[in-house]
Symmetry: C2
Subunit: 363 residues, 2 copies
């Protein structure tokens, strides 16, 4: 292939050599000027201006691949999310993006379907087209690929999960406390049969979870744990709806309240209850989890456990960048507090109001 002066015309993208030619300097100078390496190597103002002008004239931007190859870094942080569906992550990522930008990193997102056993982002991940990843979703976090990545120098932070690999930091919200608060709130309102709809039952040995908090609250109140009141459902509105259908089905000893895995599923729950002609909160109380926007717009508005989502995103980025830039931290696990937001779906003001009589049918 012919080489020479017309390189830019051939490929469509000008290279530093093209800029160098135009400015009458060497490619090294282009790099030095454009990256502000003035501290290392001196460049005269005159040359600097020439380079900048030439770069602008050609519309030059450094080739990402070449730069990454040489520098061994991409300045990209990737979020691996189980789905784009959940507005929860939208809030987390937005905050993360802001934080990352301040450190000179860009953020991208890969939706990784999280079918057990498959890890679709695998091929992408293994290419390591990023310096670090923040991983959400149980299956993603436990994927063996993560250890490989970590072993090869990619910084990894698990979001809301605990990785089996001790070299992988985690940034989470205190799910157990959230589960406790949600359940305790219902108990304080007089409920005695309280269901919990979850996305999946967590294996023993993993991080303490919503379910642990649920059980702790029950125990503290002297209520027996009834396994038939804990349901697993798909993490969607439809999933939440189906779970409630199940709870209201024939042969069930109906609960009077449910603590839902998240707000999304809680929306589905409200829907199912409506279809059954049950009034919320009068006939049935619902507590959500997450605190996302939709909870304010449902009828009734959702009482929920609010997460500091922005903080979560920011902290994840900071933990990651800390690891990237070799500022070793002894903190392996960051745990953020949650708070109860009382709206309408459980009835009003906490324990202040007279406790309503729950109708626990004993068949």
């Amino acid at each position: 292939m012919r080489r020479g002066a017309t390189n830019a015309a051939q490929t469509g993208a000008p290279t530093s050599a093209d800029v160098a030619r135009l400015a009458g300097v060497s490619p090294a100078t282009i790099s030095l000027v454009l990256n502000g390496r003035a501290s290392k190597v001196r460049i005269s103002d005159e040359t600097r201006d020439k380079v900048i002008a030439a770069a602008a004239q050609l519309g030059y931007t450094p080739n990402h691949a070449a730069r990454s190859l040489r520098q061994r870094r991409t300045n990209i942080i990737t979020f691996v999310l189980p789905t784009l569906d959940n507005p929860y992550f939208s809030d987390v990522v937005r905050a993360a993006q802001t934080a990352a930008q301040q450190h000179g990193y860009a953020v991208s997102v890969i939706p990784a379907k999280t079918k057990p056993g498959e890890f679709h982002a695998l091929s992408f991940l293994q290419g390591a087209a990023f310096d670090g990843i923040i991983v959400a979703g149980r299956e993603n976090c436990t994927a063996p690929e993560l250890r490989q990545l970590a072993a090869r120098g990619v910084a990894v932070v698990a979001l809301q999960e605990q990785s089996p690999d001790p070299s992988i930091q985690s940034v989470s919200v205190d799910l157990e406390a959230g589960g406790y608060m949600a359940t305790r709130h219902l108990i304080d309102l007089g409920h005695r049969r309280i269901a919990h709809v979850t996305e999946r039952l967590h294996e023993p040995g993993t991080r303490r979870d919503r379910l642990d908090g649920y059980r702790r609250a029950l125990e503290e109140a002297g209520l027996a744990f009834d396994p038939s009141l804990v349901l697993t459902a798909e993490n969607t509105m439809a999933g939440g709806s189906k779970a409630i259908e199940q709870l209201l089905g024939p042969g069930m000893q109906r609960p009077t309240a449910a603590f839902m895995y998240n707000d999304q599923m809680a929306v589905g729950a409200l829907h199912a209850l409506r279809l059954h002609g049950l009034s919320v909160p009068d006939d049935f109380a619902i507590v959500g989890f997450d605190g996302v926007a939709i909870g304010q717009f449902t009828a009734p508005a959702l009482t929920t456990i609010d997460h500091p989502r922005e903080e979560l995103g920011r902290l994840a980025i900071e933990a990651l960048i800390g690891a990237l830039e070799k500022r070793p931290s002894d903190v392996r696990e960051h745990l953020l507090p949650v708070k109860l937001i009382v709206r309408e779906s459980c009835g009003g003001g906490k324990t202040l109001l007279p406790r309503r009589q729950p109708r626990t049918r004993t068949r």
Copy 2:
């Protein structure tokens, strides 16, 4: 720096040279085997197996930057989205990801805040760490950076927007038809004062939009276009809510129905109407737009204009890959049909039911 046999130990990531050493062949062979270039260069089964075993033993994966540099392609397609908030895009991206994978491409997403005048993904985009991008959002689609990218060989597809650059294909849903159908539906149900809440007024000369369909339906029915019934609001539930507040405010000649920019804003609208003690659909009808999941779970469920979101994602990928692989298409613009889904928020069965008397107060 010392070079040699222990390279893998130094960097943490094995290179093709490491695999070559272990397998007793040259790096070229590694590449040939691992990429299945058997058609070009013959490799014995024995060597092939040795290479594969060595690669597996070392956990080798090719360095993404080096490969991209050499091949001048990344096999990555990036979605530039104005926000992650909207479940609409979730559906589109999911389908796109599936389609892309079949062609050997991975999909990543960049949330690009879309404040007028700023294009936050800029630095990322200019690096061109991808072969093509699919861009959504007015501001993103009209960003001058797009032309630069297109000029330099990055394939660009605009989603739901029309780019000023003729070299940029677009894949969209027929918004005008959707606007017409939504409005026509309300007219058929007897409404005469119909508001339209939109995200932004589109500039003349751009693609025909919801508003055009709205106007066409009004015109066809002999109804005067009243500019005071067209409101602009933020594209969120809160934005939809505020818009309705405004419509119901003092001094307004109240409409009896509203065609909302999308389902998200329609959810906000339902909320605002509820706060005002108005019953939907009896006192006020709402039509949404998009057909996303939430519409089935609201009370009342949303009548809406459903988009073929999966198709949209698939088509965008196919248009993009077609452009990437130099299969020139004369189709600059793909337009997908929409359809009306009648649920509850406008009342039941179209024109079949007796038209209810709208209460148009003339003050």
